[in-house]
Subunit: 346 residues, 4 copies
């Protein structure tokens, strides 16, 4: 079985593995105070053109979202998110478990618009009884989104402006950030993101690392005591150097971008195959996830050789499924899939 069900089916990139082997017997202090973490922080700050940013390393995405959001909000505040956001629907209520409501905005493609944020915020403050409702305290976006779509620089600037006007910090979930930066047509850089967001993270788990997410806190007001939050939420890895080593390797020489680019190229091959065969796509994704709308018997046929994720029913005979590529996706596997799509008898 060839796996396209998600972007974390393999271990780690060979260069990272090599570095883990080389450093395995080193003795280091714990909890992210080692030299590798220091180096990784420096590389990331430099890449983000944000010399004053605080950089922290956590293990996984849910943990990272929870820790950031809980560190920012006051008890009666909520986080604004697309209804499709990972924090709203796929983290078992982790945000609510820290006491906070997710204030959802409708979205068909995973993105939210600046005007939606403004409207929700204004509605709150224009309500005479606003203290009877949850106060908006933060805006959460993911880029690329859960649907593979990405924000353009213009869109992110507009969001950022509205957020600053509304006094709402802007947070970007970058669990797949590399794939967003590598997506076709992307005009955002890490430095842009660092300028436009207050806090964001650079995903490693799905992009080459065994695990790991690098949190970049740009806004000074959000920096204080963040390590207490990481520890309390169970995210302070004892052997923190493992995170340092991985992000060092990903960022010392452009590996992160390079492997992201590969994943997107593989993804576009799959996209093109489906489109050429005449299938529609549920979302217009130029990153590493593709969401074709397929007849259920086609899905069954493909499932014999390729895992993918069921996404949603469209009608009695059609469904959307998700094909993910990653840094580890083998070109011969994609070629085989493309061939099989092309050969489908429909």
């Amino acid at each position: 079985m060839i796996r396209f069900e998600n972007d974390y089916t393999e271990g780690t990139h060979k260069q990272i593995l090599k570095r883990l082997i080389e450093t395995n017997e080193e003795q280091t202090p714990g909890y992210g105070t080692d030299e590798h973490c220091k180096n990784a922080r420096a590389y990331i700050r430099s890449e983000c053109d944000a010399e004053n940013a605080d950089v922290h390393f956590l293990v996984g995405g849910t943990q990272t979202n929870t820790t950031i959001i809980a560190s920012i909000l006051r008890p009666y505040q909520g986080v604004i998110s697309a209804i499709t956001g990972h924090i709203e629907g796929h983290e078992t209520g982790a945000i609510e478990a820290t006491g906070h409501k997710v204030l959802t905005l409708p979205s068909d493609d995973g993105k939210i618009q600046a005007a939606q944020v403004k409207e929700l915020n204004d509605a709150h403050w224009n309500d005479d009884a606003h203290e009877h409702t949850v106060q908006p305290g933060l805006v959460y976006i993911s880029n690329p989104t859960e649907n593979g779509t990405t924000y353009s620089k213009a869109e992110l600037e507009e969001l950022s402006n509205v957020c600053r006007e509304c006094n709402l910090p802007l947070m970007m979930d970058g669990a797949r950030l590399g794939y967003g930066l590598a997506s076709i047509g992307n005009d955002l850089s890490l430095a842009d993101i660092a300028k436009l967001c207050d806090v964001f993270y650079i995903g490693g788990t799905k992009i080459g690392a065994l695990f790991g997410e690098a949190v970049v806190i740009v806004n000074d007001d959000l920096k204080k005591d963040f390590r207490y939050m990481i520890k309390q939420k169970g995210g302070l890895l004892a052997k923190g150097r493992l995170l340092g080593i991985q992000f060092e390797t990903l960022f010392e020489d452009g590996l992160y971008y390079e492997i992201s680019k590969h994943a997107v190229e593989m993804s576009i091959m799959i996209r093109d195959a489906f489109v050429e065969k005449g299938f529609s796509l549920r979302y217009d994704s130029m990153s590493n996830q593709q969401f074709p709308i397929l007849p259920d018997d086609v899905i069954m046929e493909l499932n014999k050789k390729y895992t993918n994720s069921f996404w949603e029913k469209v009608d009695d005979t059609h469904s959307v499924v998700r094909f993910c590529t990653s840094w580890a996706t083998k070109k011969e596997h994609v070629e085989m899939l493309v061939e099989d799509i092309t050969a489908l008898d429909i």
Copy 2:
């Protein structure tokens, strides 16, 4: 200014006031362990035909909702509610503050249907990755709803059946329960509710009392240690006898029903006046709240003499406002309002 903005603008019913005066110098033990609470519990159990029910007295609605819901749910569970439910939009995230998500169902009139509950519950359990999402753990309804509508006996039976089939306790927020029982066409009794719900509460704050909500726990599984929950959530009134005295008075001789009936009669007079004048109603309420859709200049005209609550904008020149009546509403005030509505120059 004559107030129709809500149903808690006055103090308490004169019979309750009389009893508070008579008992003022009595010495009683605290925290609801006194004779008045004991009597009130007996009256309520009898009225609900539920001799084994546990009855607890709390001070206000938000506190009561939070305490009940937090006592039932496991940490990863959420409560299903209409999107219009009080817990979703008007309690400053009190439910989330105890760690739980509100799982919303769309609703135009404040009610939810059995089929909606079943669909949401099935969708959760049919999801292969269900542990990545919040598990439904409880169904919350309000009766009458925040929109003045009420559940028929058939509807409540259907909901109750689905809930039992899905192993979901059913909770009724009865902050205005008396007005629901007195609403035109209602075919539900307290005994029916006690049979069909697992836990519910009988509102006093809005129906004759200075304050107070009587929680009735019918399902044995939900009874354990509820007093710990009340205390922890700040709802265990030191002078608990105040709650006992008030509910004793409301239930020893039918006062609760009688004063609820009055409020509904006053409400229907207002409803009829708006309808006869040709105005539409946003919701078809037969209880103590009316939601006419009015031209904004009519609202401004009425606002000169009568307070009401702004509900929502309909278009550039029309809005919905809410007129509430209560046990304390004076007939002459309603007659004056009706006269003024009838005389409107439109």
Copy 3:
């Protein structure tokens, strides 16, 4: 049975009852936005010589402690308290339920010393791994304490100085504050307290009111959005005017002080009787609670006529019990008790 078990065995002071009767039919807006609350706030500000203080009214003590503390602390901070503090041992973990640890200091008499606070705070910050431990974020004291003892002005000044030096807000639980102000030898005024504390509350439940605690927020940094916190924690009373009316009555003309003084006089009569009979006192209380150490058979004898609270076992044949007086304690009852103590055959 004559009750000395606590200070909330009766209803309310007759002047408050009178005002509740007089105002019962008034129509007011809800949630503390009425004129009575406005007046009460003004009286309290004036009495505290703190014209810029925010004053809020809540229903009960546990609710008030929880709301204040949760509004101040960041998620990883805890509140410093004497191990005897009400929040540590008698509120069913209400503070922890909002996510915060109570950092306890040893205390034999219910009070804590400035040096203890300083030592705990320094120990935290001197620990290299301080982010692995709960950060002190607030100091909680009660005055009078749960043991009837009180802080002198010098002691409170010293605490206040240390707190400011450590950047820790100082909060006073004043559930029995009137009895503290009236205690023999007290040299603190409300104005002193407002100068030395950042936030405190003036208890009504135990001093003349049916219920109610008046929170005074002096420190500007702690004022923001407090009404959201009250609502979320279930403490925003719908008929807020009830709180306004009660505190209006207590503070418009010195009633609060006068009835507190009576309670303390009654308490000292009881104290003197025990001491003259040769019994020791567990705590040196000059306020409204007395804690004699008595032979168990004496306790059984007194229990035939007078309720009191069991406090703790001292040895196989002796225990401490608590006798409380209050604004409502009748002098003839105290005289009867004194007589019975004096006549004890020991």
Copy 4:
């Protein structure tokens, strides 16, 4: 510098590293549903002689403690722990952040006695106002303790009996469990622990793995929905197979025991050196941590070559420091340390 400051200064055991390399390109499903996790679960169940136990893999200790404890307790319950317990003092209030109080018992050596648990539990239930206090809901012990001491089989049996009598689940924090099993004089096996505890975990982070803790839930009542808890608390590793691979390697052939034994041998060499030199030990540890009481100038001398952890001041000139060994400790380093201790000029 040679590091004895903790037991997580190196990467992972070479056999684990080998297996990570071999399996790196395998494609597996995520979140612990892969074959490696399945195998590891089988090995652990077999080792524990607990075929029906549920076995889950988490990343780190704080996360594991929080997830287990929050999954068991009802909102008003607390966890009983030695005051020296990791959850009480070194996890930044993680337990409180899930809403629960830690109910501490005094302990000089890190252990608690059955009689202490019984006394605390009885005191709660004998209190007439028990619902005003936190209900004991679980007993937490660590073995070996934070002080290196261990429970004998007889002690654990006694604790287990009291817990079952009191209806309190017993949980063992086994972050260093291997070192406990290998400690000199230990008479407990994993099978004993599985029989006597309701839930426990087998630490990997400190014993050969890069990271990872294996939770064993023996009591059927505690098994339900645990994966929801892991996900919500951020502990469900995307590439769960990493945990499976590591525990497979540790348990397929006794590696866990073997490397634990090495660490303890190294520790005893250090212990003996200090004792022979005439120094006292703060705790009588036969596992992998040693706590000598040393003159401060000796500590400064040793610090030139060897890191260790400051534990506590004893007097003006003496302190306790902790020396940790681990699976990775090199014998030549220990021999060098022993030599330097022996050569100390005191």
